[in-house]
Amino acid sequence: MITLGFDTSGPWCGAALIVDGDCPAARYEDMTKGQAERLMPMLQEVLAEAGAAWGDLDRIGVGIGPGNFTGVRISVSAARGLALGLGVPAMGVTLLEALAYGTEGPVLACLDARRGQGYFQRFGYGTAEPFLGSLDDLEPEPGLKCIGSLGAEAAAHLGAAHAPALYAPGSAIARIAARRSAAAPERPAPLYLRAADAAPPREAPPVILPETLP
């Protein structure tokens, strides 16, 4: 089975091809802008390096965040277009799961969400749902490893170990998608965890008076 995975949910552009559990081609480039221009050529390079064509793909794996809203949408939109065009399933994988992938024991995936907050998800202990919170929302766990861009801070805060992610995002996402059950997956949708910045209008409309008789 051939799975192409990719991710642009942070300041990078990453992709990997997984063929029956092996990874014949992968790319990772640090990138703060230009991901929309770079992503598809990078995917073509990965396919070419492995001697594969678009039509050989059985499955797409795509990073759905949390992370940079625009970056997440770049990959998710491309994945949905590819899935529709190829007639293969696309599977959304969170960046938190990608960070924790392959690490044994209790793991806390930690991403910097700015504004003094982080995106977190516990693996192998506690509740499993990803959430937006602060370091004070975290609790210690014996043998815990903290992984991700906020991993060092979280580890220091909890007195836990700080560990690196074992795989680059694109590579982890491709591997996770390849191992998932293919039974009618939902279309990948961004995982934002944070509401859109939008405020109702400040100014109240004028009072509408009843009509006076002439």
């Binding site: 939109s77 277009g81 009509e211």
Partner: protein, 356 residues
């Protein structure tokens, strides 16, 4: 020529997610998924909310357009997508979805300027030949263009500040009416007195066909505030009268500036309008009168092809495809992209570049 081309169009530059399939000039399908309800609470389109909706609606819109047209992806000649100008989050989603489809199917990818989509619509609907004068008037744009080819546009003038569509939205907001303002203000104006409030006709005292609508907005605010100061609020009739007076001012300015644009570009056989504001009946009638006086044919596409749609993107894409354009997988999404690339920019600048 592009008479037999089958083209998929994709549009997501503001708050409508749209996909359409064209064969030649025949619109096989045109799907428009609006988002009005998502933005209603905020008194205008919120870019991040729009982008979130586009990302999860685009592939559904494409599927629906293909199904309604009874066309399979492999039967397409090209995939056309709005690559700007517009709200960048939505444009990016559209461009990436189109790239995914194009890569998967091996079909040519064509990046289309959203404004060219509007400006070339009269060729789709009426088979209009080049050259013609186009008044492009929408929520974000207002300009007079001489259209000589699918990529050949000369701007004669345009707004130096707001677009009329923005002014309609703002007036609706000032009067406690719903968004988008265009249809609501027009409905109110129907039972109002257009002469009750003496609102300004900005820039009519200056030659040329540049326009300004920002001051008109402020004048409406003053008229409203005067009423509120006088009696603590406004009546429904006051509101209708303000709407009618405002709409009359916009129609007067557009009509007079159109007269001047026709004079600046003699020999144009046709005056065409496009953009959401061209859906306004009073404005349409005023422009029709000006065209008749100048003995120019007046071409106004049906309303659903005046507002944002993907059929116009498919059509513009077909014209560009016929002219040899093919875009690569590095096609960029552009928040700003003036149609007239040679005239001195008149609006916007800095890092993001000129708006018009």
């Amino acid at each position: 020529m592009n008479d037999d081309l089958t083209v998929l169009g994709i549009e997501s530059s503001c708050d409508d997610t749209a996909a359409a399939v064209l064969r030649g000039r025949e619109i096989l399908s045109s799907v428009v998924m609006g988002q009005a309800e998502l933005h209603a609470a905020f008194g205008g389109v919120v870019p991040e909310i729009a982008a979130r909706a586009h990302a999860e609606k685009l592939d559904h819109a494409v599927e629906a357009a293909l199904a309604q047209a009874g066309v399979e992806l492999r039967a397409l000649d090209a995939i056309a997508v709005t690559a700007g100008p517009g709200l960048i989050g939505g444009v990016l989603s559209g461009v990436m979805c189109a790239k995914g489809l194009a890569a998967a199917t091996g079909k040519p990818l064509i990046g289309v300027n959203h404004l060219a989509g509007h400006a070339l619509t009269p060729r789709l609907t009426d088979g209009l030949g080049f050259p013609y004068l186009m008044l492009l008037v929408s929520g974000g744009h207002c300009q007079f263009l001489v259209v000589r080819g699918p990529e050949e546009f000369t701007r004669l003038g345009g707004t130096i500040d707001d677009a009329p569509g923005e002014a309609f939205d703002k007036v609706a907001k000032l009067l406690g009416l719903a968004q988008p303002g265009g249809p609501v203000v027009e409905a109110e104006a129907r039972r109002g007195d257009p002469k009750r409030f003496a609102l300004p006709r900005p820039l009519l005292d200056r030659p040329g066909c540049d326009m300004s609508f920002s001051g008109l907005k402020t004048a409406v605010l003053r008229a409203r505030d005067a009423l509120v100061t006088e009696k603590g609020g406004i009546t429904a009739q006051d509101r209708a009268d303000i709407c009618a007076s405002f709409q009359a001012a916009v129609a007067d300015v557009l009509a007079e500036k159109t007269r001047r644009a026709l004079a600046l570009a003699p020999g144009m056989g046709a005056l065409a309008v496009a953009g959401g504001v061209a859906a306004n009946g009073t404005i349409r009638a005023a422009l029709e009168t000006v065209a008749a006086q100048d003995r120019a044919t007046f071409v106004a596409p049906p309303l659903k092809l005046c507002t944002d749609n993907a059929a116009m993107i498919a059509w513009a894409g077909a014209e560009l495809f016929a002219g040899g354009q093919r875009d690569g997988m590095d096609l960029a999404a552009r928040p700003r992209w003036p149609l007239d690339q040679t005239s001195t920019p008149m609006l916007g600048g800095g890092k993001r570049g000129a708006k018009a």
